[in-house]
C-alpha cells in the first residue's frame, strides 16, 4: 500500500479506543494499532472515554486501570452494564505483577488483560483474538437478525392471505410472533359480518365456456378483496361466488359498521365497470348483492389438526348470509342489529328504506334496511 493512512480510513477499519491518562502510553498503543491497519482514537480520562463511546461506539476498548477520575474498573463496569455496550470487548491494562487488579477486572467484566510495560507482540495477539471474536459475534448477530426478519416476513405473508396487508402489519406489531392473537382457539366477539355474492352467476356458469369461468371469478374476487382490504376487513371464506368478511376481528375496530358499509358500497361501485364489460361481451346482467349483520359470534380456528380454517360462527353470520340471498343486484341489506348504528353513521337526513323480510329459520319477519348503490 503506497498510502496506508488514507486507505485504512476509507475501508471502515476496526476501531479501537485507547483510554490512558499518560499521553506517551496512549500514543504508543495507538501507533502499534494503526500499524496493523486499525483505526485508533485516544481518550485521556474516563469521562472523555464514555462520551466518545456513546457518540461513536468503537469495536474494542483498551483501558488503563489507574486513572484520575473514574478508574478503568468503573468504566468497564459501566460499559458492561449497558445493553448498547455490553458486548463491546474491553481489555484492561494493568501492571504485570498486579494480580489483585486482574481479579477486580474480571469482576468488572473485562474480556482480557494486557500487562504494562506493554509488549508489542502480546498487544497485537490479544487484539487480534478479540477482533476475531468480535467479528464472529457481529456476524452471528447479523445472521440472527436476518433470520428474525425472514421469519417475520413469512408470518406477514401468511397473514396477508387472510387479512388486509395493513391489518397484518398491525397484528404483527401488537403480537410480534403473530401467535397471541390467534392463541385463543375460540372466543366470543362482537363482529360485523358481511356476505357478498354475484347476482347472475348461475346463468353465467351455464352460458359462458368453462375455460372462462375461473378467470372471470378471479376478476370478481380480486375486485371484492381489494375493497375489503382497503377497509381492513378480514376475509373468512370464499365459496362458489360468495365471500364472507368480518370486521372488528381479529383486532378491535371502533368503526367496524362504517367499514362494513363502505366496503359493500366499494364492492358494488368497483364491480360496475366489470359488469358493464361482461354485459357487452356475454350479454349477461350481473351485479353484487350484500348482506350485513352485527352480533356476538364465535371466532376461532375450526377444523382438524391437518386442516384448519380461521372462521366465525353465529347467528349474525347466518342472518347476513340470508340477507345476501335476498338482496337484489347492487343492493345492501342490513340486519336489525347492524341497522341500530346506521343513523349515527349516515346522519338522520339520509333516507333509509326499511323493509320487513321473512328469513329462513326465523319465526318472525325481521326489520331490515336496504341501501341501493348507484352504479351509473
Amino acid at each position: 500500500m503506497s498510502d496506508p493512512g488514507s486507505g485504512r480510513v476509507a475501508q471502515a477499519a476496526f476501531r479501537v479506543l485507547v483510554v490512558d491518562d499518560d499521553p506517551d502510553m496512549a500514543g504508543f498503543l495507538a501507533r502499534l494499532l494503526v500499524q496493523q491497519g486499525m483505526q485508533a482514537d485516544t481518550a485521556a480520562d474516563g469521562h472523555a472515554a464514555l462520551e466518545m463511546i456513546a457518540a461513536a461506539p468503537p469495536d474494542l476498548v483498551l483501558l488503563d486501570v489507574q486513572m484520575p477520575g473514574p478508574s478503568g474498573f468503573d468504566i468497564c463496569r459501566q460499559l458492561k452494564g449497558r445493553e448498547a455496550t455490553a458486548l463491546l470487548p474491553v481489555v484492561l491494562i494493568t501492571a504485570l505483577e498486579d494480580q489483585e487488579s486482574r481479579v477486580r477486572g474480571i469482576e468488572a467484566g473485562a474480556d482480557d488483560f494486557l500487562s504494562k510495560p506493554v509488549r508489542r507482540e502480546e498487544l497485537l495477539a490479544r487484539v487480534k483474538t478479540l477482533r476475531r471474536l468480535h467479528e464472529t459475534r457481529k456476524e452471528l448477530e447479523g445472521r440472527r437478525l436476518a433470520a428474525e426478519v425472514q421469519a417475520r416476513e413469512a408470518i406477514r405473508r401468511a397473514f396477508s392471505r387472510y387479512l388486509s396487508p395493513r391489518l397484518a402489519e398491525r397484528v404483527l406489531r401488537e403480537s410480534p410472533d403473530g401467535e397471541a392473537i390467534f392463541r385463543n382457539l375460540s372466543e366470543r366477539a362482537a363482529v360485523v359480518t358481511l356476505f357478498a355474492d354475484l347476482r347472475g352467476f348461475t346463468r353465467l356458469s351455464e352460458t359462458v365456456p368453462v375455460s372462462m369461468i375461473v378467470p372471470m371469478l378471479n376478476e370478481y374476487f380480486t375486485v371484492l378483496t381489494a375493497a375489503v382490504h382497503d377497509n381492513e376487513g378480514t376475509v373468512f371464506s370464499m365459496a362458489g361466488d360468495s365471500l364472507l368478511v368480518g370486521f372488528n376481528v381479529p383486532v378491535p375496530q371502533d368503526d367496524a359498521m362504517t367499514r362494513a358499509v363502505t366496503t359493500a358500497q366499494a364492492m358494488i361501485e368497483r364491480f360496475a365497470p366489470v359488469a358493464a364489460r361482461w354485459k357487452a361481451e356475454h350479454r349477461l346482467a350481473t351485479g353484487i348483492g350484500v348482506g350485513i349483520e352485527a352480533g356476538e359470534v364465535v371466532v376461532g380456528n375450526v377444523g382438524a389438526p391437518s386442516f384448519m380454517s380461521y372462521t366465525i360462527i353465529g347467528d349474525a353470520v347466518n342472518v347476513a348470509a340470508r340477507l345476501m340471498q335476498q338482496a337484489a343486484a347492487n343492493e345492501i341489506l342490513i340486519g336489525p342489529s347492524a341497522a341500530l348504528s346506521l343513523h349515527a353513521m349516515l346522519g338522520r337526513s339520509t333516507p333509509l328504506e326499511r323493509r320487513e323480510i321473512a328469513l329462513k329459520g326465523k319465526a318472525e319477519p325481521v326489520q331490515v334496511v336496504a341501501l341501493r348503490v348507484g352504479t351509473a
Binding site: 502510553m25 504508543f28 501507533r31 504494562k116 506493554v118
Partner: protein, 101 residues
C-alpha cells in the same frame, strides 16, 4: 559521575514519538523533585507507577526500573532513597543516546 553515553535501542516506527516522550521525561524529573520537596509521596508513587509502565514499552528499561524503585520508595517513605533515584534519573536522561532500528 562520568558522561559516558547510555545507548538505548528504540523501534524505528516509534521515532517520531520520541522527542515528545523525552520532553515528558524531563518534565517528569522536575515534577518528581518538586513533589519530594513538598513531601507529596502519593504524587511520587503515581509518577513512579507511570514510569514503570511507559518506560519499557518504548524500550527504556531503566525508566521502568527507576519507576518501580520510586513507587516502592514512596510507599516506604524512603526520602533518601527517592532523592538518590531522582539524581540517577537526571543523570540517565543526560547520558541517554537513542539508536533507531
Amino acid at each position: 559521575m562520568t558522561a559516558e553515553p547510555i545507548v538505548v535501542t528504540v523501534a524505528k516506527d516509534l521515532e517520531d514519538l520520541i522527542p515528545t516522550f523525552m520532553k515528558n521525561r524531563t518534565t517528569e524529573v522536575e515534577t518528581l523533585r518538586a513533589a519530594l520537596a513538598a513531601g507529596d509521596l502519593e504524587q511520587m508513587r503515581q509518577l513512579g507507577h507511570r514510569m514503570k509502565g511507559v518506560g519499557n514499552s518504548y524500550g527504556f528499561e531503566k525508566v521502568s526500573t527507576l519507576g518501580r524503585q520510586i513507587e516502592d520508595g514512596a510507599n516506604a517513605g524512603d526520602r533518601a532513597g527517592l532523592e538518590a533515584r531522582i539524581a540517577e534519573y537526571t543523570d540517565y536522561l543526560a547520558r541517554v543516546q537513542i539508536v533507531y532500528e
